[in-house]
């Protein structure tokens, strides 16, 4: 979830809005060519981005309850790690991650990585 120090030229960071646009312990959806991407914000104001699809049955993770560094999928309550996309054991599965960072209060998303 942390952005690299230097952005490579070929990478494209897109502004998707202000941090304040995402409710703390909540998420917003960004529609992209990769499909919907869920951008989460936790209580510590950390920002994370995952493909909006639970590895279990494709539930929209953006609609789940965010706690700590996890989100509970709204369909069957799997817990998914926000930082790594991994389902909490004993469940197994992984949601695709995207690079996201905050600069000057702006949320920047990079869907090429």
């Amino acid at each position: 979830m942390n952005a690299p120090e230097k952005v490579r030229a070929m990478d494209t960071w897109m502004k998707v809005g202000a941090v304040e646009d995402i409710p703390p312990l909540g998420a917003r959806v960004v529609q992209s060519t990769h499909g919907d991407i869920a951008v989460f914000r936790n209580a510590e104001n950390e920002v994370f981005a995952l493909l909006d699809k639970c590895p279990h049955k494709g539930g929209p993770l953006s609609q789940g309850i965010v706690f700590g560094r996890h989100v509970a999928c709204p369909l069957h309550n799997w817990s998914i790690g926000l930082a790594d996309g991994e389902a909490v054991a004993p469940d197994v599965g992984c949601a695709q991650r995207f690079a996201v960072k905050v600069e000057n209060g702006e949320v920047l998303l990079n869907i090429s990585k």
């Binding site: 960004v30 709204p74 004993p90």
Partner: protein, 809 residues
């Protein structure tokens, strides 16, 4: 900060479970070192009998392998017996000279088998039954010799005898008492057990005292002689006459022991740096030999070692199941009864079923069962909860009230189910899968089974079956969670009731405040506790506490029901199931305009629009211009009605108007779970009032009110609360009932679960007998509902926009 050093002596189930608990709640506090005298890592000792019987392998019963210790940074010394504790220098010393210093020492040295002090006890071929080594010795002997004698007809002795028989030996069980397992069974049950074991080919000599074990020509065991002069051949003798706490090490270090290391309720010994758990312990004068109490001790001990200081171990009531395939037997508590107890007995000698429930002051204090033990877990739960059973006494003997009746082919007895039969119809889990997971993964609790197999984790209908399977697979190690002490979730040790009380007594208005004052372990809770606390603060302090939408499940945050494809369903309110041409036209127009793919009439007499895109919701609501039906919420859903006296030739009351009035009065009412009403205009009850949270039935002279019915997972017939004369009274009585439920039930309790716990008498006392209290309750409900806005209208006018709009690049 430098870590403190925790040393554990003994590497068995109780000790390692304590370490697991510490790692769970305070993983970085200690540098941990473990000394085990056996050459194995931690294995599931209670499954040694299935290994002996050839039903499982040693590999399958390992609980924590060597990698586990390494992964958790624990230093493990196997094959090293600690022989000395130097309490002044605070170190332990092993037989081979290894030393380790400690800040805290945990003694989990277990127990030793009792050996009869008779001539010949040390002969080759005479063994006890305690660990992997003994089990292997028995398996080896079974391959070479013919005659086995087991001394001791208790749990362990019978399991050993059964295993040796299955391995082809000719087995005799010698027992001193008048009947088998006299500490767990009454004579009737024991006689039935004896008969079924005799059918398996075992032989029994009861009231026999062994006086000597005699050698054969090769100096190995050859015969056994008894006090009455009789002798029998024996190539292998297994002594299973009991265990005694292994407190030798503690005693030699001067720690106070009386048949076990004496500990307080916090599992602390007389040396405050030294704790002890498991079979080596004497707690309030009792040493336990079953696994379930040991786990409870471990939990308490870990909590204190982690400096949290919460929880006391207050002793256990234990239950026993014999792990002999094909013999069903269960025993718990005081099964013998006494002068001040009563008994309910069912005895079918030919059918092989015997059930006895011992009651004292309307509570179950003991139970013993043979043949059909399906309800053992249920009885045991009520025994531990000290539940008053006077209301269910008449059908107590006939089965489990909390077992759902859909989704598992009508089965109610797990023992009779084949491995391939589906137990959990929601998640498609078969019995065999559950049994396998319990054995291989070392699961002991319902929660564990839910996590690993998903069985019973959705609708919960099969919970009773899963508990039965758990109980029969792990035997005496199974202990149902105490209902009254059950923590809200893994974030806290506090119960729902404690949290509710704190919110009320300390005037807590926000979730972070509750979590801070109640010392939550997690920074912002989890998906389970946050919605509960949000409900508790809002219902306790209406108009004061502020709703936290991020702590609501998506349906209540978006005010629509999420569907499997991520779209939503919209159900507008139709008071009492009544609508109009204008409403129906608007609905039809909305369906066309937003291309809504499915329109369906619901079971609650209204119309469901399915497949609405989230972004369209506010516009759909604006165009519908109808109130929210709250079909997505833990709140009042519908009031189902029949047409009543206005139209029906049988109707005696205007049930439709009553339903409309009730729904207008209580719409927008949030509750611990969804609430469904029905009003019928005559006792023909066409609105199905008998299976609703509140069911009202019109009779010629007034209205009957029924409560706590349920038509879902487990069909529960609503119970008669009272009869009233007027429609105003229907509102007041049902409103008061709902308010007690709102103020006192646990979040996600349906009315049926709550009433089952507190009892209908309590509800009657609050709502019927206490007239002033009833008016106050009704007043509080009306106050809470005052000025509550319609969520759809607010959002149609632009509130909470961010919830429905995507971010744009």
């Amino acid at each position: 900060m430098k870590k403190m050093k925790l040393v554990m002596v003994g590497n068995g189930m109780a000790g390692v479970r304590t370490l697991e608990e510490i790692l769970k709640i305070s993983p970085d506090l200690y540098e941990i070192t473990v000394f085990g005298a056996e050459p194995h890592a931690n294995y599931n000792r209670i499954l040694l009998s299935p290994v002996l019987a050839g039903e499982m392998t040693l590999k399958e019963i390992m609980l924590n392998d060597v990698d586990w210790y390494e992964k958790n940074g624990i230093t493990l010394h196997l094959n090293k017996q600690i022989t000395k504790i130097d309490r002044v220098a605070r170190k332990v010393i092993a037989a081979d000279g290894t030393e380790e210093s400690y800040d805290r020492l945990l003694l989990a040295t277990g127990s030793n088998p009792f050996v009869l002090p008779i001539p010949g006890k040390d002969l080759p071929g005479v063994i006890t039954y305690r660990d992997i080594h003994d089990t292997n010795a028995m398996i080896e002997a079974a391959g070479k010799y013919k005659h086995a004698v087991v001394i001791g007809g208790g749990l362990l002795g019978l399991e050993a005898a059964n295993g040796l028989k299955l391995r082809g030996m000719d087995v005799t069980v010698v027992h001193l008492a008048e009947w088998l397992m006299e500490r767990q069974l009454d004579k009737t049950a024991a006689d039935m057990l004896k008969k079924s074991l005799e059918n398996k080919g075992l032989r029994f000599l009861l009231r026999k005292q062994t006086t000597a074990i005699l050698a054969n020509a090769e100096g190995r065991v050859g015969r056994l002689s008894f006090s009455d002069g009789e002798e029998i051949p024996a190539d292998l003798v297994v002594m299973a006459v009991g265990i005694k706490p292994n407190d030798d090490l503690a005693k030699s270090a001067g720690i106070h022991c009386t048949r076990g290391i004496v500990v307080s309720d916090t599992m602390q010994t007389y040396d405050p740096r030294i704790y002890a758990v498991g079979e080596c312990v004497s707690h309030r004068g009792i040493a336990y030999g079953l696994v379930a109490p040991l786990f409870e001790m471990g939990k308490v001990c870990a909590n204190h070692l982690a400096h949290l200081g919460i929880g006391r171990y207050e002793g256990s009531v234990t239950s026993t199941k014999l792990k002999v395939t094909g013999v069903d037997l269960f025993s718990a508590g005081n099964f013998q009864g006494a002068a001040d107890t009563e008994e309910i007995v069912l005895h079918d000698a030919i059918g092989g079923v015997y059930k006895k429930i011992v009651l004292k002051d309307d509570r179950i204090v003991g139970s013993v069962m043979v043949g059909d033990t399906g309800d053992g877990a249920w009885y045991f739960q009520m025994l531990r909860d000290k539940k008053n059973v006077s209301e269910i006494r008449d059908h107590l003997m006939f089965g489990q009230a909390h077992l759902g009746n859909t989704g598992h082919q009508g089965q109610s007895n797990a023992a009779q189910m084949a491995d391939s039969m589906e137990v959990c119809g929601c998640n498609g889990v078969c019995k065999g899968v559950i049994v396998k997971a319990i054995k291989e993964k070392g699961l002991f609790t319902l929660e564990d089974v839910r996590k690993h197999t998903k069985a019973s984790s959705s609708c919960g209908s099969c919970t009773g079956l899963v508990e039965q399977i758990l109980a029969s697979t792990v035997g005496g190690a199974y202990a149902p969670q105490l209902n009254k002490n059950k923590p809200m979730c893994a974030c806290t040790d506090h119960t729902h009731e404690e949290v509710r009380m704190a919110i009320r007594d300390r005037h807590l208005l926000t979730i972070p405040n509750v979590m801070r004052l109640m010392e939550w372990r997690t920074p912002d809770g989890c998906a389970s506790c946050r919605p509960a606390i949000n409900y508790y603060v809002l219902s306790t302090w209406p108009h004061e506490a502020k709703d936290d939408p991020q702590s609501r499940f998506i349906n209540e945050r978006a005010h629509a029901n999420i569907q499997k494809d991520g779209t939503y369903s919209v159900i507008p309110r139709m008071y009492g199931g009544s609508t109009s041409a204008a409403e129906l036209r608007r609905i039809a127009d909305v369906v066309d305009k937003y291309k809504i793919p499915m329109v369906k009439v619901t079971g609650g007499q209204r119309i469901d629009l399915l497949g609405v895109k989230k972004a369209d919701l506010p516009k759909v609501w604006a165009d519908l211009d109808m109130p929210s039906g709250h079909a997505y919420a833990k709140a009042l859903r519908t009031v189902k009605t029949c047409v009543g006296s206005e139209w029906c030739r049988f109707g005696v009351q205007d049930s439709t108007q009553m339903g409309i009035d009730l729904e207008r009065a209580f719409a927008k009412m949030y509750a611990p779970h969804k609430v469904k009403f029905a009003v019928s205009g005559c006792p023909r009850n066409c609105a199905e009032s008998g299976i609703k949270d509140v069911g009202v039935i019109g009779v010629d002279s007034g209205w009957e009110i029924y409560v706590a019915g349920n038509g879902g997972i487990k069909t529960e017939v609503a119970q008669f609360l009272c009869k009233v004369k007027t429609a105003e009274e229907v509102l007041e009585y049902s409103g008061a009932f709902l308010q007690v439920y709102r103020e006192e039930a646990r979040y996600l309790d349906r009315t049926v679960h709550w009433v089952a716990r507190v009892g209908l008498d309590y509800v009657k006392q609050r709502v019927i007998e206490d007239a002033e209290g009833r008016k106050a309750l009704y007043g509080r409900l009306l106050y809470a509902l005052q000025g509550e806005k319609d969520p759809w209208r607010e959002r149609a006018q632009g509130a909470a926009k961010h919830e429905f709009e995507a971010l744009t690049v």
